[in-house]
Amino acid sequence: MLQIIRSPQVFDVVVIGSGAGGGTAVKVLTDRGFNVALLEAGPMLHPEKDFKEHVAPYDVDHRGAGAHAELYMGRGRPFGYFQAPNGYWEIPGEPYTVAEGSQWQWFRSRILGGRTNHYGRISLRFADYDFQPEDGLSDPWPVTYAEMSPWYDKAEGFMGVTGTKEGLRTAPDGNFLPPIPPRVHETLIQRACGKLNIPCVPSRMAMLTKPLNGRAACHYCGQCGRGCRTASAFTSSQAMIFPAMETGKVTVINGAMARQLIAKDGKVSAVSYIEKSTRTEKQIRCRAVVVAASCCESARLLLNSKIANSSGQVGRNLTDSTGYAMTGYIPALSGLPRHNADGIGGMHLYIPWWLYGDKGKDFPRGYHIELGGGFDMPQLGTFAGQCARHEGYGKALKQKIREEYGAFVHFSGRGEMIPNRNSWCEIDPEKVDAYGIPVLRFHFKWSDHEIRQVKHMEDTFASIIETMGGQVVGAKPDPTRAISTGGTIIHEAGTAKMGKDPATSVLNSYCQSHDVKNLFVTDAAPFVSQPDKNVTLSIVAFSWRASEYLAEEMRKGNV
């Protein structure tokens, strides 16, 4: 008979997942003295060993090609060899399926801190109209911007977010650290945008331009994506979970794949998980559970547990941001005097949405634009584009590469997808993973809203490049084909949406299950829509609010 090992201890709260949502729950609950168990499906993070910060390609024998030179066979690590350990598009033993006619790719992290170890740290508040849409195309959230604003203040105050007060309705101001000066190409973009009446403002990034909460100020090496040993770029692992571990209030269980929430008398009494190293099932008992396994993993766990789904909405409402990119060559930047242009990892300026309420456009909602360019560290592949474009060989090729280094600008649009009936996930009835856990099957389609939005991105990017006196590099990608594949922007949201009505939503405004009062979901699954603002800051704000609510409810004896 199958032996299930049950923990003798009853934890106050079991948190499932250690990314932005789980890390915040661990921090808030341990700060209030609760005993927390944290389940993470991947290993412990060791920044000193795991983060390849300040390593040049030539410091490694394969220079980033991988131990089997797999980069050249199209099997390199996602985001490159030097990126922080973050996750995978394919995990051996942990498949998922995609229904016929759909396209979807699912990025999953398996390490303490999850995707926060490497993410872009772009930290944008949702706007008032994001919570209460005026066009009726998606449901209103059960909270308003005014209610969420103090929680954004807390999240920003703890994480540390750069920025300036701009007074834009589309990009609400926050509790900002000083901004960072624009690089040369960013100043040119800003001036071109000025001519086109497009705002281009200091970026809002979770990187410390001043020391904060015991974390050192940024040293401007520009390598935030590799993981930051000084934790000057925000991660849930370093900024939230490691300090919580020092309090002795959290028990971290790595290599633990949550399988099922065990309910008794309408409440979750234990969490069953598979210890991956031994493939044995264990149960850990608790008074409450916070599920923050990432949007789709959380939905999978609820569906496999057959719990909290009286509305039938678990797995529905799946969205990702739209993505579309264009590169321009800017002759004015050719031969630019060399200098260290590293700064913070990613952009120093960005373009918030600027056409809210504009009647002339042919698509609803909007997008923001992320900027790239400058003197990036040359890596394997950095000049592959120039080699392919200029062809030839010899001094002429070498001279072209030298002249064009630092003279390219990149624009990436990240836009709002409106939830639609064709985009959702469910349990695949035919397949289990290596741990015997039924896997997800995805359905996903963009609608014409998103295609037309991406067409608008194409025109906008090209006009900025032309205003800079530059040329679009390569053929302008056709929006219907060049729109990102669903899932690849890694902003999944919506699969356990919150709402006022238990008949049409999974969670209440505190991310608490309508059906099961000691069950909370605090990743992006509760999000009712996918505003054109990256989800992480909002995950932290909502998880903070949910965790304080849970703490208070437990203190009162309601949970």
Partner: protein, 199 residues
């Protein structure tokens, strides 16, 4: 000026949240680890035969030659890095052994019995002038394998060259060192603004 510090010390100080290191200290720490692993001359090929390796060295020299600015791919050891990669992956090795032998065969077509290396500078560049451009596949379909190999080889030679300290100096990359503050040199901004129509 404070004492130079090791990279490890630098990291420890940063991790401890100590006062920020100066740019000079950071640069010293960076250079202390910046060594070229593959020096031309002393390298023993691991995957390619001596002849294949010599041919690859010649190709790398033709693709990115030394000029008045800097040494080229030969001096920067591009061939040794590519040979090392070939020793890690047999599919990659096969692309190179196959492509290099194709080159010898094509050179033979010009003058019987001569390898690419033996065919002399004029014949070598004459062949490269054909296979270095995709559009020539339409003119000479029989060159297509060579055109595809050369495109791949050119990309790897560029990768190999521009990921060395020599390549970094050639393009003028100055990053990967900590800074207490970020700022943009006025001369750089003025240069770009003057050349743009955005002043």
């Amino acid at each position: 000026m404070s004492e130079p510090i090791s990279r490890r010390d630098w990291m420890t100080r940063l991790a401890a949240g100590a006062a920020l290191v100066t740019a000079a200290e950071a640069q010293h720490a960076h250079e202390s680890v910046a060594r070229e692993k593959h020096q031309a001359g002393s390298y023993q090929p691991k995957a390619l035969t001596p002849h294949e390796y010599a041919t690859l060295e010649k190709l790398s020299d033709l693709i990115i030659p030394a000029d008045e600015h800097s040494p080229g791919a030969l001096e920067a050891g591009a061939a040794s890095f590519i040979d090392f990669l070939c020793s890690l992956n047999t599919d990659l090795r096969d692309i190179f052994t196959g492509g290099l032998l194709w080159l010898d065969t094509a050179a033979e077509g010009g003058e019987a019995g001569k390898t690419f290396l033996e065919s002399g500078p004029a014949d070598q560049t004459a062949l490269l002038d054909k296979i270095a451009f995709r559009k020539n596949a339409a003119v000479w379909p029989e060159l297509d394998p060579g055109i595809q190999f050369f495109a791949f080889c050119r990309r790897l030679v560029a990768d190999a060259y521009y990921t060395t300290p020599t390549g970094y100096k050639e393009v003028g990359y100055m990053g990967n060192s900590g800074m207490a503050h970020f700022s943009v040199p006025k001369e750089a901004l003025d240069y770009a603004l003057k050349r743009s129509n955005l002043v």
